[in-house]
Amino acid sequence: MNTTTENNSALFEYLLRLGDTSLILGHRLAEWCGHAPILEEDIALTNISLDHIGQARLLLDYAGKIEGKGRSEDALAYHRDARQFRNLLMAEQPNGDFGNTMVRQFLISVYNFHLYSALSKSADAELAAIAAKSVKEVAYHVRHSSDWLIRLGDGTAESHERVQQSINDLWIYVDDFFNGDEVDAMLVSQNIAPELNAIRPLWNETVQLTMVKAGLQIPQVNSAMRTGSRKGNHTEYLGYILAEMQFLPRAYPDAEWL
């Protein structure tokens, strides 16, 4: 294998990780459509969902071009199985209640914010442009989810307790954000991707700032952290999402949006 091929396959993997996280989280948020507690939140959640799907389209379209086998964004989204998906484990976790959805959104959005800020300076111009565009959308996701964390954390005894419980439950998927591998290392060496070790303290700081305002606690480090998204080792939930998301294009492979 020559160097270009190796570089391309690392970049392809990396783009799948970013694109799949957006796609799966966008799909999860779309489940709220028509079910949110109030109309404004229904609109907000579906707007955020749309942002994620838009980012996924750009990233997966680019991934297909880098791979060079003629796979489109749709082929990548609809014709891969769970083991071939590279989304963060947290993105596939069920919505739970509204507060739980906001906690999941907050933890991922803060990660995306710092990651995309760094990627907007990537040596890969196309990825840098996608990141520069996405980070501005992500900024609104951070603000929206932070506001809700503060409202719920600093709200009633029940809202506080429930949102703290969601933080404790979701925290076991945090290490997965930062658990880089040889793909990250290779792209770091080419200034295409940032060091995840450098992202973590930024993430901690932003998360901490909101947690303090919300009166919420960062859970004690748990030995049962779940990782593995970069190798396609998912939790049981991803298969169900894919079954729903991929049913139509697999049943009717020629179906097209008109």
């Binding site: 838009g54 750009l58 196309e126 996608i130 900024a139 609104y140």
Partner: protein, 166 residues
């Protein structure tokens, strides 16, 4: 046959293309129209997407085609360019003024200020497009389209939309 006159003619034609969701703005006001070039006998119209999931981009492409075909130009293609990424900083002064007159507050800060505000949690108040007061508050960061947020003016007591910083 082509020369710079044709290119500026096409540019002029395209400055009429409106944004489907904010029809007071043209694609030139928004800074979506990146470039017009003549390459191998084909006019390449380069446009750049605004928001990643913006459904209006498809409509904009169609509107461009319509204007060109109406004016007898067949040898063209519309190309989407990503880099550098579009920002609301590119909305022209004229565009901002049109937005205010239409009742939409133009983006209240630059993209850079907006990103900084996320980390500090301190957001600048948006000036009301009707009365100019900054005695306003955000009611929802997500509105009827991906590009707009909802605010309320406590001075003239009217709700208004803001074109989000992007």
């Amino acid at each position: 046959m082509t020369d710079t006159t044709d290119i500026s003619h096409i540019r002029n034609l395209l400055t009429q293309v409106q944004d489907p969701e904010v029809p007071v703005l043209t694609i030139a006001d928004l800074g979506i129209l990146r470039d017009v070039e003549f390459v191998d006998g084909v006019y390449e119209i380069k446009i750049t997407p605004t928001f990643t999931g913006c459904p209006a981009m498809k409509a904009i492409e169609e509107n461009i085609s319509e204007v060109l075909v109406e004016n007898g130009i067949q040898n063209y293609k519309v190309r989407m360019v990503m880099s550098p990424a579009w920002t609301t900083d590119w909305i022209s002064e004229l565009g901002r003024e049109k937005l205010r007159k239409y009742g939409i507050a133009p983006p209240s800060q630059s993209t850079e200020e907006h990103l900084k505000a996320i980390l500090t949690g301190k957001n600048k108040a948006v000036a009301c497009p009707f009365c100019g007061s900054v005695n306003t508050r955000l009611t929802s960061a997500f509105g009827s389209t991906a590009c707009k947020a909802l605010h309320y003016c406590d001075h003239c007591r009217q709700p208004f939309e803001e074109f989000k910083c992007h």
